[in-house]
Symmetry: D2
Subunit: 430 residues, 4 copies
Amino acid sequence: MSTARRAEQIPREQLLDAYSAIRRESLAICAPLETEDHCIQTMVDVSPPKWHLAHTTWFFETFLLTRFARHYTAVHPAYDHLFNSYYLTHGQPFTRAQRGFLSRPTLKDILHYRETVDSAMQALLLTLDESHYRELEFLLMLGLNHEQQHQELLYTDIKHILSHNPLKPAYLETRSTKLKQTSAMPVSLAWQNFSGGLIEVGHDVSNSHGFAYDNEGPRHKVWLEDFALASRLVSNAEYLEFINDGGYRRSEFWLSEGWAVIQQQGWLAPLYWERRDDNWWQFSLQGMQAIDLAAPVCHVSLFEADAYARWAGKRLPTEFEWEQVASQHTIAGNLREQAALQTLPAQSNQMTQLYGDVWEWTASSYRAYPGYRPAAGAIGEYNGKFMSSQMVLRGGSFATPQDHIRASYRNFFYPADRWQFSGIRLAEDA
Amino acid sequence: MSTARRAEQIPREQLLDAYSAIRRESLAICAPLETEDHCIQTMVDVSPPKWHLAHTTWFFETFLLTRFARHYTAVHPAYDHLFNSYYLTHGQPFTRAQRGFLSRPTLKDILHYRETVDSAMQALLLTLDESHYRELEFLLMLGLNHEQQHQELLYTDIKHILSHNPLKPAYLETRSTKLKQTSAMPVSLAWQNFSGGLIEVGHDVSNSHGFAYDNEGPRHKVWLEDFALASRLVSNAEYLEFINDGGYRRSEFWLSEGWAVIQQQGWLAPLYWERRDDNWWQFSLQGMQAIDLAAPVCHVSLFEADAYARWAGKRLPTEFEWEQVASQHTIAGNLREQAALQTLPAQSNQMTQLYGDVWEWTASSYRAYPGYRPAAGAIGEYNGKFMSSQMVLRGGSFATPQDHIRASYRNFFYPADRWQFSGIRLAEDA
Amino acid sequence: MSTARRAEQIPREQLLDAYSAIRRESLAICAPLETEDHCIQTMVDVSPPKWHLAHTTWFFETFLLTRFARHYTAVHPAYDHLFNSYYLTHGQPFTRAQRGFLSRPTLKDILHYRETVDSAMQALLLTLDESHYRELEFLLMLGLNHEQQHQELLYTDIKHILSHNPLKPAYLETRSTKLKQTSAMPVSLAWQNFSGGLIEVGHDVSNSHGFAYDNEGPRHKVWLEDFALASRLVSNAEYLEFINDGGYRRSEFWLSEGWAVIQQQGWLAPLYWERRDDNWWQFSLQGMQAIDLAAPVCHVSLFEADAYARWAGKRLPTEFEWEQVASQHTIAGNLREQAALQTLPAQSNQMTQLYGDVWEWTASSYRAYPGYRPAAGAIGEYNGKFMSSQMVLRGGSFATPQDHIRASYRNFFYPADRWQFSGIRLAEDA
Amino acid sequence: MSTARRAEQIPREQLLDAYSAIRRESLAICAPLETEDHCIQTMVDVSPPKWHLAHTTWFFETFLLTRFARHYTAVHPAYDHLFNSYYLTHGQPFTRAQRGFLSRPTLKDILHYRETVDSAMQALLLTLDESHYRELEFLLMLGLNHEQQHQELLYTDIKHILSHNPLKPAYLETRSTKLKQTSAMPVSLAWQNFSGGLIEVGHDVSNSHGFAYDNEGPRHKVWLEDFALASRLVSNAEYLEFINDGGYRRSEFWLSEGWAVIQQQGWLAPLYWERRDDNWWQFSLQGMQAIDLAAPVCHVSLFEADAYARWAGKRLPTEFEWEQVASQHTIAGNLREQAALQTLPAQSNQMTQLYGDVWEWTASSYRAYPGYRPAAGAIGEYNGKFMSSQMVLRGGSFATPQDHIRASYRNFFYPADRWQFSGIRLAEDA
């Protein structure tokens, strides 16, 4: 989170509305699930949906209620251990790999936990004295943004969980007809040139009214060479060409680590792709579907994105090239509010799809910006301690809310990760 | 199962009653569980309770309904894959290690599966023509005994699942007062001598009216030397002496494999034992409890049983020594009907606890008896293919129904396994 | 080793001759190797040849010189740690998996170690007072038999080491012409019937003049049913039929553990077999060779032996059936003195190949005989602590010296092991 | 390597001298070793010294002789497979983890391989026609720099190999008296300020006469903020304070990945440190030695370097901050020519130890510079494919030759690696 503070504070009612809306949304995401779906952990990276519901609640209980609400008693003494994700300076978290063993507390217990914390939070918000309000406001904004991040993780984890079931159950039984899948080819891809120079990147505290994470700052100068950026994301049709050209069998396209991963894991296509009788299908939140050739490719790792770019004779953009371009564009696109919950074909050969559809792998390692200092205490563990071996992704996906994403937003995952909604935009030197 | 057939067949109504009673019992065992408890798999050996409920149903659907019931349609085409445990000649079973990923079919779906199959089974039992009845009778008896085995597994697996939860939830909130735990010491252990000679062991088809598994036969001659058997099981008090005497730190008592296991796993006591402020507690189906010194030790591996015996200057009995003695005793003891669901102190220094309380590790490897032939087809995979690297246990436990156990019954587990209700009886040369 | 003692002691000169001969033989086995070959450990089960040379020397230094030789000083204080294999009551052995890291002591150092110990042993043998001679005689015989066992391990380990080298170097450049390989088929296999009854098995102390290990006794009664034994070992030709009949793809022949092993390891044939252009070759001590169809199959695991037997409609003999037959035959065959160092075709359809060629997997688990007691102290760890999860093999191989094998000899390995010279003889019920 | 070419070519005799000198040096490094030491591989990252000797030879054979020398025949057809490290576009390399299994070719064979290739190289150098000379010159310079890198790896791998031996053999029996170890404390550490601004970094082709790797370019602009750099490396004394202050037990100093590594590996100090009776010792190329408090700490991972910096309230420099400072300094220090083969105390509180002693971990991920293009073909695999998950180290160590290091030189290792000669220099924001 950002240690920077805006000049004016947010009115209490507005905060309360935001709190209620975001908390409700988490429940809405889980509504189509069966009780049993809430308990499953299909790999260490995945958390059971029930755990997400509890952990986001724990965040408010631990960092706000326990601190600001007089006479507040924790709902259950064991929850502080069970639902602490990774805040080691706060306490010893429950073993991540065993989150799927937690049949208790039950979903019902956790819904009760949410209700109790929500009531206490509403009371706190309306009654806290002015002297502490500013600090609460900051932590509450952090908690809400934190919950929004977990909402996207709910989508990615639910997809992973359902995909491991041979019954291939759909999360959404049908999808809107206006998002109808076609076998049309993507619109043509154009290249747009950008001048380099000494630019500024990162969240601009002085000039911004919104929330940002601490890892988006400090705003600082960066030198860019001239570059060009593809007008849209790489489509399934294009990625299929790469596959058909032996992309997964030709070592010359791959980073050494990536080549090792695809050998060991036997990867032949993006995650969730499945070949049936010479056609490629994919498991989606809408169940098994034929590949939509015009839509952006999704569920590729950095290694695949990088190999694709090398095969195409291009490269991935740096996070600063991306930010330089994106900061000139309005935040709009196939974001969560569209309710598509899948990638959609680009509609023009102007610069598009910067926001939404898929998180775009960049060529940049996830490292601290010059002058970066994490906050003191457990909150300081939010972002800073993950700054090794991961790569930056930008722009949000179809599962990211519009009010959560921005040009300076830095997402980060390991280069072999691909259960997130991650894709590819190409760049090249001018 | 035994290929031998008794002369007289069991009346249909009697079979139907047995079927209904045993099927109901599985549901009764799961009744205290939450929906979420039914989904969890805490290690590869453990299956989610929901899976046990479905697999036992699959057995009847696959080996009886599909075969004998005209016009019977399988409840769901995928269940044959999902709920096949290990019958490779029948089809490719779903990966054992991923049973905990099966949030679907839901518990509700599986209860519906059970009901549908039960109805069809009842109809079949009452209507099948006489010419096929004998074969059905045999397979039904096998299916019912199979379900009884899974009922004991339900208890061991539920215990394992709940034990992995830091909330340490009890399966049974309270236990009967007449089984009240005391800190009294066990009754004194006596030694009873037995003459050896050329004896017969194994299930006697010609002389028996009951069911037996194929691995209990053929009945055959075995030469025994004179031997002595302890009058009761090894108690927690005695096992604690072994621990306190450095039993887990002194290599001289241990088989080489066992020593490696306790080093790697860091074992210092039986499974579920936990030291708190110089006292030993154990997780039980009744929640965390102080160790009952007078009760038999439970949840030890063969390696621990063998090391204990060597420390005590004794040995484990062979399965034939055990059978020779047990076949002279009535089947009675702390079996499931007692509803204790934990080990209970011996009440006399006469030969006791042969049946019930804990399965007794023997010195015998699990191998085929002379002349053993498994049945043809998938049913032949029931027992025979497991005859390597495992050891025989005898006598049943507090979770074994009285009508399921007998002197010739051979249970078998790997020497490092200890999540079963397994304990120790000592023997010595005469 | 056997705790039993013979009435008459062996003359000192005779012992000394035996000592010198056996110690020389270890060096002769290593003579064709390069210095570098002596250091390599290709899997945990394999020890570097240099380590075998040192460990066998350590045995004499530790259990004889340190005990009986006044003023004897150990050659190097660290060797007691480095060359202790598994005698935990003697001290903490060096990690087995890291034997291949011991570039020092060098081969030259170890040869010097051997010379020093040999001189001291010779002096000890000639000067020890009569009162201790009997004990020394026993330990020395144990040490010599121990070294003979390691000589066979030298052959199996050297073969494993050289086989991992893409240069496929031969241990022996040429082989005797009279052992010339042919594509002839094996002699026909006959079945010989044997009557069962109450027999005695195990080493007979009172009636024998030779050495035996403790695990071969006590001699005891066993009841056998009538049985038949194949006149010769299973040949490569027959095993090839099993392969060609889909033996490695059909689960119905396999123990469950065995099926898991061949899936995980991708086994399609015995160890060292290699398919080249539709022909099967094998890596041998003589380099790459075409399969000799008439010769016995070698380098199969118990799982493969058992699956082959089931495919053939037969079974493996128990160790007692084997011993009952073998004890009626003279110890002769393709043993080490023949210098063939590979399996050779049977020459007759009379009972043959009982001794030599390959160790024959039996259907018997390796467990203690009734009344078995290991010796006190470290020597007691020689055999007894390995009596779990292993299977008995009988009869010796082409790498076993004639004076080392006998009818009661029990070798033992894990059912998945196949780098030993192990093969198959079939049995069936009468 | 750099695709850039200098205007003037190097005279043939000069190249020949360089070739001979560098090739001799590899042999000199191995001279103190026993034959057996040449075969050992103590972890996957380590290669047997023999393999280094062969692989560096393979480089010349493959990329120069096979290409330019008419009638040249490879010394052995299998060597191209055995000694290819990772050039996948050239062929399938032998499994890295099995390099320690290659007892053959013997050391003697490999020395012969070196001699044969050296003769052929000398002939080639003197006879190649002018039209190909330029290309040969480039590849030869690359091959020599490649061999110099492997010389440093020889030192790090030899140290690792010898350290795994309980005999703790010294590589160098004694060390020069003028490098005598003392318990003196390090000279005081000073901070030097540097102005930021728009600078140029990377190898300057137009302005340089020497060799550089391709990953050092293209030279490009970078914006730096003002910063300060510590005048010397972090000493053992200072690192010991970190240890004594609970550095390895306090999660707040560690990157999340680093914390996981030290838990899993049980790290409590730098690699090779060993606590004996309350004193810290380290295994060195000179054998076991007491820690020299005044000397720079060595054998720390990036995770330890980063945690130390956070504990100290400082940070690591970026690779560009380091380069900006180092490019103002002459290349001098405790480099290989000093023959110290260990870290030595700083002698002044002026900026020192930039070159030599230890490779300095930087805060920079190893990624491509803007406009970087690897060469076509196998040579292009030299550097580029490793640009993920690794961190840049700068400045060379006591094992790096003076003519091999430069300000723009980028070494790279994984953040958990610590068998290299790696240490810490602190930086801070101005």
